[in-house]
């Protein structure tokens, strides 16, 4: 988790730095009165690097992904709940004695 977190921080820093460089580049072009066609190549590279870092941090920091297959070993349905709304009380266990005498004591 620590490594993923550091990646994330670095990714965000790269993105901020790329944005700042682009703004500065635009300011420079305004002084030189040229058209702003797009940020320079190294800023684009820095953007892509920051993106990759952020995405990898987002995938690793939260932890393990849960399975979504209905037939995977964790998710497969083994039994239905016991339908407790229709539970009846005069079943055969009425004749079975309980082993200890239970009471609510207060």
């Amino acid at each position: 988790m620590g490594l993923g977190f550091i990646f994330g921080v670095f990714g965000v820093l790269f993105l901020f730095h790329a944005a700042y460089s682009t703004i500065q580049y635009r300011g420079l072009l305004k002084i030189m009165e040229e058209e702003f066609s797009g940020p320079p190549m190294n800023v684009v590279l820095e953007l892509l690097l920051g993106f990759v870092f952020c995405v990898s941090a987002a995938l690793t920091v939260p932890g393990n992904f849960l399975s979504i297959h209905p037939d995977s070993e964790e998710n497969r349905i083994v039994s239905l709940p016991a339908n407790l709304d229709f539970m009846i009380f005069n079943h055969r266990a009425k004749a079975l004695p309980l082993e200890i005498d239970m009471k609510l004591k207060h």
């Binding site: 209905p70 037939d71 998710n75 039994s79 016991a82 009380f89 309980l98 239970m102 009471k103």
Partner: protein
């Protein structure tokens, strides 16, 4: 719906609490979440928490939910005085509560005084005529008294109003199966599969009912539903595998005279048989001989 991980978790918690390892409160919460019916254990461990004033105060507001759970478990184990004490404690805390009124009705049911329980439920219904749980308790009462046709009638009337209640559909299907009214049970299972198509156990029950009805078309449909159960459970459901083998042999027997539709590929049958043998070899290898001889007699 209880998944495999939840079931293993429940069993391991139960073992742990049985052997004195603590964790009774987590066990009770899990039983409540999975709606399992383990009344003896719930009663034993619930009472052990409630009788200990330190543990009781540690629960905070969850104490009352525990009282309700222990009251229902006590009624199921026929310890009616424990149930009465729990309900009295709940009534002191929540004097005008409908939930406590319902528990009182259930206590009258457990005692066997059907008339008084019916009166209690009708008075609760007057205040709130659309209370689902009270309607369901009346159906359960009719079933407990042996009046199955009355139960079917009231359950049908309930389902006309509350068509989306899948527990009620399931109950109706089981009642029809117990009366051998398989066509109606098939209709109920179809409703269940429509509303919850990813639960494999409904497909399995529907396939069982169709196989019991018999007839060539029903057998073909039953085979399809057994196959979909195997798909949804990843091949781990033994009953569906057996169902495929039996359906294939039944279809072969029924259509022995006609020779136009024996283009059924025998692959499904042999695949299911192989999967069964592998499963038996892993889990019950001493019964493998029985299985192979049974499957061989089916193949003809």
């Amino acid at each position: 719906m209880v998944s495999k991980t939840e079931e293993t978790q429940l069993n391991s918690l139960e073992n742990q609490v049985d052997n004195g390892g603590g964790g009774a409160w987590e066990y009770l919460c899990l039983v409540r979440k999975l709606k399992a019916r383990r009344s003896e254990k719930v009663l034993k461990y619930g009472l052990s928490i409630l009788n200990d004033p330190k543990k009781r105060s540690a629960l905070g507001p969850e104490e009352w939910t525990l009282y309700e759970q222990v009251a229902i478990a006590a009624m199921d184990c026929q310890c009616l005085d424990v149930a009465k004490d729990c309900i009295k404690a709940l009534q002191k805390k929540f004097p005008e509560s409908k939930r406590v009124g319902r528990l009182n009705g259930m206590l009258l049911e457990a005692k066997g005084s059907w008339g008084e329980a019916e009166k209690a439920y009708s008075s609760l219904l007057e205040d709130n005529p659309l209370d689902q749980v009270i309607h369901k308790r009346r159906v359960a009462m009719a079933k407990a008294q042996g009046n199955i046709s009355g139960a079917i009638e009231s359950l049908n009337k309930y389902l006309e109003i509350f068509m989306a209640d899948h527990e009620a559909w399931r109950e109706l299907a089981e009642i029809y199966v117990s009366l051998q009214m398989y066509k109606q049970a098939a209709f109920c299972y179809e409703e269940l599969i429509l509303s919850q198509p990813t639960v494999p156990l409904y497909h399995l029950a529907y396939a069982d009912v169709l196989y019991t009805l018999g007839g060539l078309e029903n057998l073909h449909t039953a085979k399809k539903y057994y196959a979909s159960t195997i798909d949804l459970t990843g091949g781990k459901n033994t009953r569906a595998l057996f169902g495929i083998c039996l359906c294939t042999s039944a279809i072969a027997q029924v259509s022995k005279g006609r020779n136009k539709e024996d283009k059924e590929s025998p692959e499904l049958h042999s695949l299911a048989a192989t999967a069964l043998e592998k499963d038996y070899k892993q889990r019950a290898s001493d019964k493998l001989g029985l299985l192979t001889s049974a499957l061989r007699s089916l193949k003809t």
